[in-house]
Amino acid sequence: MSSLLLIAGLVILLTVLLGLVRILRGPGDTERLMAAQLLGTGGVAALLLLGSAIDLTGATDLALLLALLAAFAAVTFVAGLGAGPAGAPDGRRGSAPDVRGEGDSPASQ
């Protein structure tokens, strides 16, 4: 049984690690954020599976913490879209156009 859980956990971990491609290539920051979130969820699932397969103490606590906090990046990102740079009373302008932005993958691969 536990070897099946282990394999499933490893498969999920590898899958979400491959999702890093989206962080690296974008094209937009929204995609990067989604990939980061998949990383969080998949990390939670992998931790649960590995935790019950090879008896990692505290893996469930960590998974709970990750599930609770993994979305903070997304939340702040979206909230930050509406905000302008510091001191500018009127948000909206300046920050909206650069949601997208070309990924520069050649540097990393």
Binding site: S3, A36, G40, L69
Partner: protein, 331 residues
């Protein structure tokens, strides 16, 4: 750990380590600040998993709470506040090459050191285990933090309090006494408000659980405090509450109560028990609990205030009427 059909190091650790390195390379090379910061939040999540694989669940919890949660919040707020700024001119190619070679040298030297560590690894596991009973704590890491290396831990909570003071001093003179406003990123979306209403109660439970369970299992004041701070920041982000003004007395008490109590009990230990920061026989566990509770509170307050930023005056004269509903809530 029993044997398994496939070697975990090969399939989990090497990809994880590679992912960390690729992500690190990418976020130093990429062009845009905010993209790099998003990558860094992913990095924090991966690092937490790496720490579990290293057998340090306590560290993994801290890394997840700070690196995965609060750090993303802090840096993405900073990125939103800064906007995209023009890149600074890059130095000439030879300089970059030189720096690259030197950094590679550092890496190679460190890697050589890691690979040539002495074979029977020196450790303090036995020493900690031998004396752990005296602290009545089941978690060896907690015992080290609160008893065996108590000076470190106390000074570290002093550092947190000092950091808040320094941060507050960044504000303009005119703004002294006002509220921090760095997290005030504009009107929240309905989904954010829902999250802000439902998540903090759960986070409160998890935070207190982490603090309480820290005596015998992985967890402790830092992890619990970080979760509580993250929940407070979420509330402020959703505008369901506001950070307290810098002049608020209760907040100041909250910041210093942890280190202060630690210090007082430590000083009392010099008189009652035999040394500074020693705990008297029999009272060890209650005193440790008291210190840890105060420390959890102080860590939570200090971390939340660190994320909230220096005091700021409300944005001058909205002029466009969109944020005009706000002045009622300000000091």
């Amino acid at each position: 750990m029993p044997d398994f059909p496939l070697p975990v190091p090969l399939w989990a650790d090497i990809p994880l380590a590679l992912a960390l390195l690729v992500l690190a390379l990418w976020l130093t090379a990429t062009r845009r600040d905010r993209a790099a910061v998003i990558g860094f939040t992913g990095y924090g999540l991966l690092a937490a998993i790496a720490w579990v694989r290293l057998g340090s669940v306590d560290v993994a919890l801290t890394e997840a709470a700070l690196g995965g949660g609060l750090m993303g919040l802090l840096l993405l707020t900073a990125a939103a506040r800064l906007g995209e700024r023009a890149d600074q001119p890059r130095p000439a190619m030879p300089v970059r090459l030189l720096v690259g070679v030197l950094c590679l040298g550092v890496t190679l030297a460190l890697a050589a050191v890691v690979l040539s560590l002495p074979a029977p690894a020196p450790n303090l596991v036995a020493a900690v285990a031998a004396n752990q009973a005296a602290t009545e704590l089941g978690n060896p890491v907690a015992a080290v933090l609160i008893a065996f290396r108590a000076v470190d831990t106390m000074l570290e909570s002093v550092v947190l309090a000092l950091a808040v003071i320094v941060l507050w001093s960044f504000g303009a003179d005119r703004a002294w006494g006002a509220r921090p406003r760095t997290l005030d990123l504009g009107p929240p979306s309905p989904a954010l408000m829902l999250l802000g209403r439902l998540l903090p109660p759960l986070g409160l439970i998890v935070g207190v659980h982490l603090f309480w369970t820290g005596a015998d299992h992985p967890g402790g004041p830092f992890q619990g405090g970080a979760v509580l701070a993250a929940m407070a920041a979420l509330l402020w982000l959703a505008r369901l509450g506001e950070p307290p003004p810098v002049s608020d007395g209760l907040t100041r008490v909250g910041i210093v109560i942890g280190p202060l109590l630690f210090l007082l009990i430590g000083l009392a230990g010099a008189v009652i028990a035999d040394a500074f920061l020693a705990y008297p026989e029999g009272l060890t566990k209650p005193l440790i609990l008291l210190i840890e509770a105060a420390k959890t509170l102080s860590v939570a307050v200090a971390l939340a205030l660190l994320v909230a930023g220096p005091p700021e005056l409300p944005a001058p004269a909205p002029a466009r009427g969109e944020t005009a509903a706000e002045p009622g809530g300000t000091v």
